[in-house]
Amino acid sequence: MPPKPKVPGLIKGLGVTFKEMTKTMFPNEGLKKLIPSPSKGAHTVQYPHVKEAPPTRARGVIALLEENCTVCMLCARSCPDWCIYIEGHKYKAPPRREGGKERTVSALDRFDIDYALCMYCGICVEVCPFDALFWTPEYEYSEPRIADLLHDKERLGEWMDTVPEYEPYEAGSEAKVKKLPKKGAK
């Protein structure tokens, strides 16, 4: 049972808002306390002049490392919205050694992600067995036309420049920190 408040509750409520107002208007410590600087004291930032950086793991946009993709279609199959469109073809490559068999190599023709449908769940990134898809915290890619939200292979490859390194884990964890694959290493 809450105890009966000693100070009349109405005045205390005024005190709370007054304190918040002065905290916003005069946030500096020490001698500079009397200089009003509400831009520093407020909890909001004036986007787009000031931008806050999202955490490393934030799910902003998906980037594609084309060299690693083997057109296995696992990501397209596991997407809840079926928003990944993949087309590929197989071609015969010359054998690695003299007298060997010809190899069948898959080549990626089309890899589109439709961000108008994407739910940002991350299942495609998780199931890819060849480390071809990565999350980046970039979020400023809104378009005036919905059709422009379909990112094709080249655009998804450009997002690779913004993929951050994996963070170290907390103490007590047995998980190993993954490393980003270097480009061109296949």
Partner: protein, 391 residues
């Protein structure tokens, strides 16, 4: 004077007859008001058809379904990881809490248990979701009553909790972090200390709300004695969570029905009840629950065991045949998933028992005879989310 004279009796009868005539002539019509799907006070698209007599409610009729998204049909054609993504969005304010009962039910069917570290981190995120959700309620109840400043404080302090959830899962509102057999990833460095600071901040927020709202005489005059729900009526309508605990029923699924993998029995915490059953009791119980949840998170962070976060499960998960029902104490009430599996990649049928559907079903009973402002107060104090009602 003991005897009433005949003349007085005659005058009395004439007066009654005159009154009756006036009442018949001035017979007033009731007004049917549509607290329609678009309204600042209903948390989403709930429509309540209210028949008014002046400012008093004669009958109230909630009409749901304006936000029905067909979850139980959607999940019939999806696999378990895909379903985990979808069900995040049922109760969008308690992000992680939607996934927990579903994953627990699936793990029960598969007879696999996640390692202790995963269970503890699951509980941490579960309680943080509770802090975020109920913290918002504390401020937004003030908004329903007219104190708009309280809502801003709630949103501002909730951001800190959401930042922590984003740091570990990648998503603020839809974490999509729980997996059958464990969790997706482990905690990043520095998360534990920062989360302890955030929980301390949320405790200060609760104190601020107590000063700003709970001690306020106007708030108490608006909330005390409004919308009293006796315990038997509440239980018969299926109320759960803080709503029924505010009527004096000591029932908490975390403690009572042994969510056995989750480590609630190893921690030191208490369940809060209040005997009154009115709107103020519901608000007070939720405030105490938020404080309790912050203390729980602190204990969990202190005792976090080391180890792996994922049990040995096959890559392609096929849940064996059977049925399982798991109910957990979500921020809004008791949420449960009843999974019927035929051994496939996805379930055959999932029935979602959502807390808000039952919480709002008491509206016709509790809204009889109250004034229009009290309708808003009572509905606000029952605290439902439309996504939870309509699924």
């Amino acid at each position: 004077m003991t005897a009433v004279s005949d003349r007085q009796q005659l005058q009395y009868i004439a007066g009654q007859a005159a009154d009756a005539r006036v009442n018949v002539e001035l017979e007033t019509e009731g007004m049917t008001l549509n607290l329609g799907p678009q309204h600042p006070a209903t948390h989403g698209t709930l429509r309540i058809i209210v028949k008014l007599d002046g400012e008093q409610v004669v009958s109230a009729d909630p009409v749901m379904g304006y936000m029905h998204r067909g979850y139980e049909k959607l999940v019939e054609v999806r696999t378990y990881p895909q379903i985990t993504t979808l069900i995040n969005r049922i109760d969008w304010l308690s992000s992680f809490a939607n996934e927990v009962p579903f994953i627990l039910a699936a793990e029960k069917l598969m007879d696999v248990e996640a390692p202790p570290r995963a269970q503890w981190i699951r509980t941490i995120l579960f309680e943080m979701a509770r802090v975020a959700n109920i913290g918002l309620f504390l401020g937004e109840m003030g908004l329903q009553l007219g104190a708009m400043t309280a809502a801003f404080y709630a949103f501002r302090d909730r951001e800190f909790v959401l930042n922590q959830i984003e740091a570990v899962t990648g998503g603020r509102f839809h974490p999509n972090f729980d997996r059958i057999g464990g969790l997706k990833d482990d905690l990043p460095k520095g998360w534990i200390d920062e989360t302890k600071r955030v929980m301390q901040r949320m405790r200060e927020f609760c104190d601020e709300m107590e000063e700003l709202l709970v001690g306020n005489e106007i708030f108490q005059a608006r909330m005390r004695g409004i919308g009293v729900i006796p315990a038997e009526i509440g239980l018969s309508y299926g109320l759960s969570g803080a709503n029924i605990r505010a009527s004096g029923v000591d029932w908490d699924i975390r403690r009572d029905s042994k969510l056995s993998p989750l480590p609630y029995d190893q921690l030191d915490w208490q369940v809060w009840t209040h005997p009154d059953g009115d709107s103020f009791a519901r608000y007070w119980v939720r405030m105490q629950e938020t404080r309790e949840a912050t203390k729980l998170v602190d204990q969990l962070l202190d005792g976090l065991p080391g180890g792996s976060i994922m049990a040995k499960v096959p890559r392609i998960i096929k849940v064996p045949e059977g049925e399982a029902y798991v109910e957990t104490e979500n921020p809004l009430g008791a949420m449960g998933y009843y999974i019927v599996s035929r051994g496939d990649l996805g379930p055959f049928r999932v029935k979602i028992r959502s807390a808000s559907f039952n919480n709002v079903s008491i509206a016709p009973w509790v809204l009889r005879g109250v004034y229009v402002p009290d309708v808003i107060t009572i509905l606000g104090s029952l605290y439902f989310i439309l996504g939870d009602i309509d699924r």
